[in-house]
Symmetry: C2
Subunit: 341 residues, 2 copies
């Protein structure tokens, strides 16, 4: 960008003082004669004047920028989350600085630093699970942090917005059990993640409620990145007693799991019933259409932005808020009775 006109240029051209220009810039900050206002506005127009955000932010904290720290935006779940967060934020006149961690705590801490330096008014994040000290420092600094999707148990002070992971997984496994499956596998996120742990817990609850054996061999924690999901499938299939049903509770690994299943020639649902945590339009286009657990991404986004911003408004509620929205189990055709081959 070239040398842009400043508020002084406008003032001079309009034959008024900078204070007056500032007042027409910020209506309500002081009186301005209608005639003057008109003239000033005209000048701004012809000069192509745009107030410089950096200068404004320098005075008061910038209640105008939100940091969105996601693992990765290639993952459609996070992408849609980002989309909604951005829209919610824009609706409130605030902008979003998008950062990604690739699930790498080193990168996460770097991103957090720049977020701090920018004095963002709030941070919405899917934490890697590490960098405990930094998160702590952040909340000590009075930063308005909201964890979305996942959380960090040892940081109970932070606001959290997510689905009820335990219940969602419980419902999925329960549906499978209700169809008569006795050997139900689950591929979830890493044990270090709350989503991974909670979904496994829900799975176990359903197993217990249905009076089924808890075979730990059927429970697989797969990393979010890489081919972990596919490997878990292979391991599961080569078991002496392989599962007849599978819950894929690791959204980031759904396609790798399905690919491996396809390569292995496993037919769904005849040989294996499947439920996935994933709500892409593609799930419905599969053969057969997949039974899924759908997360209400719009709600996750809305609440996250709300929290991140309400806290910023000084409404330090004191108590940390945890919002759990309901996920929806959508039955399609990838679940059948076992042995229906």
């Amino acid at each position: 960008m070239q040398k842009q006109p400043t508020i002084r240029d406008v003032a001079h051209a309009a034959g008024v003082s900078v204070a007056v220009v500032s007042r027409v810039l910020n209506p309500g900050s002081g009186p301005v004669a209608a005639a003057t206002r008109g003239r000033v506005n005209d000048v701004m127009q012809t000069l192509g004047y745009h107030p410089r955000t950096a200068a404004r932010e320098l005075k008061h904290g910038p209640a105008t920028t939100l940091g969105l720290l996601l693992a990765d935006v290639s993952n459609p779940f996070f992408a849609r989350l980002a989309d909604h967060v951005v829209q919610e934020a824009h609706a409130r006149g605030i902008q979003v600085l998008l950062m990604t961690t690739q699930e790498d705590d080193r990168l996460e801490s770097e991103r957090l630093s720049t977020l701090i330096e920018r004095r963002v008014s709030g941070i919405i994040a899917t934490p890697t699970g590490n960098n405990l000290e930094i998160w702590k420092k952040l909340q000590d600094m009075g930063a308005d942090v909201v964890f979305v999707d996942r959380s960090i148990p040892s940081l109970p002070e932070v606001d959290v917005v997510s689905i009820n992971n335990t219940e969602s997984a419980r419902a999925a496994t329960a549906l499978l059990a209700a169809h008569g499956h006795r050997r139900i596998g689950i591929i979830s996120g890493p044990a270090s993640s709350t989503t991974g742990r909670d979904r496994i817990a829900g799975h176990r609850q359903a197993l217990e409620a249905a009076g089924l054996d808890q075979d730990d061999l059927l429970i697989r924690s797969a990393a979010f990145r890489g081919a972990a999901g596919g490997d878990a499938v292979t391991a599961l299939l080569s078991l002496e007693h392989p599962p007849t049903a599978l819950v894929v509770a690791n959204t980031a690994q759904v396609t790798t799991v399905l690919r491996r299943l396809a390569h292995a020639g496993v037919s769904i649902p005849d040989e294996l019933s499947v439920i996935v945590f994933e709500d892409s339009p593609w799930t419905e286009l599969m053969t057969p259409p997949l039974t899924i657990v759908r997360q209400p991404i719009d709600l996750l986004a809305r609440h996250s932005v709300q929290l991140a911003l309400s806290n910023a408004s000084g409404q330090t509620s004191g108590k940390p808020t945890t919002i759990r929205v309901e996920a929806e189990l959508i039955e399609r055709s990838s679940v059948a009775r076992p042995g229906s081959k």
Copy 2:
């Protein structure tokens, strides 16, 4: 965020002047005794000091923020583009302000305003095609704009990074023709978009090269948003002489098209051969696996960031740059000879 320590607090606590602190903050900006540097660093550490970006930006223009203006991040293509842009930017130490337009020019112009106010060092955008005056003004201001994916023909001064849309569509249609299809349909983006127009042009080239009739009824321009793709399918299928092959060149409408096809009970590729412009992992998981046109998103992102930033560095090459990267036609199983039903 609470009241944070400033450079003055650090200076005071370390028993030096702010100038010294600034020098340790910006190595190379001046000499600092090793001992002093150590002391200052310690103080910064214990005080938890972070230099405020807004203040820095106030001095010199912020070569530290990039605006990324996309139509919508729910679209996996744009999502992956965003992901790569963010990574490329971070690798260069610069941050990304993510904005979306929902293909709405009103929103686009608002977003552009805030980008201007922030004096971002560059803007990477998928323009709606309107707001001509604003884009013009932007380049007059010396802003570093890069159009990615699409462009605006009447703005030849702007850098553009995209695949060769004409050639990509030509290759797709040519493949279909080579399989013996004589009635090949195409569903592309709106005629107002360069991608829409170029891909249709490529389609026509292939038709001509193959000596086939140009039936305009087989050419459908569908809006990026909404159910336009599905409607186009219905229209195509109800033709007296429906196509035996279809190129879906509107990435945003691929799933709606496939859904409509599925509902209509059209079997692929027996009744209809299909090629889609889309590179989601899901395309390979479909039955049958889809033949696709893959865009090298990483290259699009890398070049975009490079251009947006190199221009910013004052390297005003003068001439606008247009970079066309090659898309890849990946043959899978959704294309067969016609009438193989």
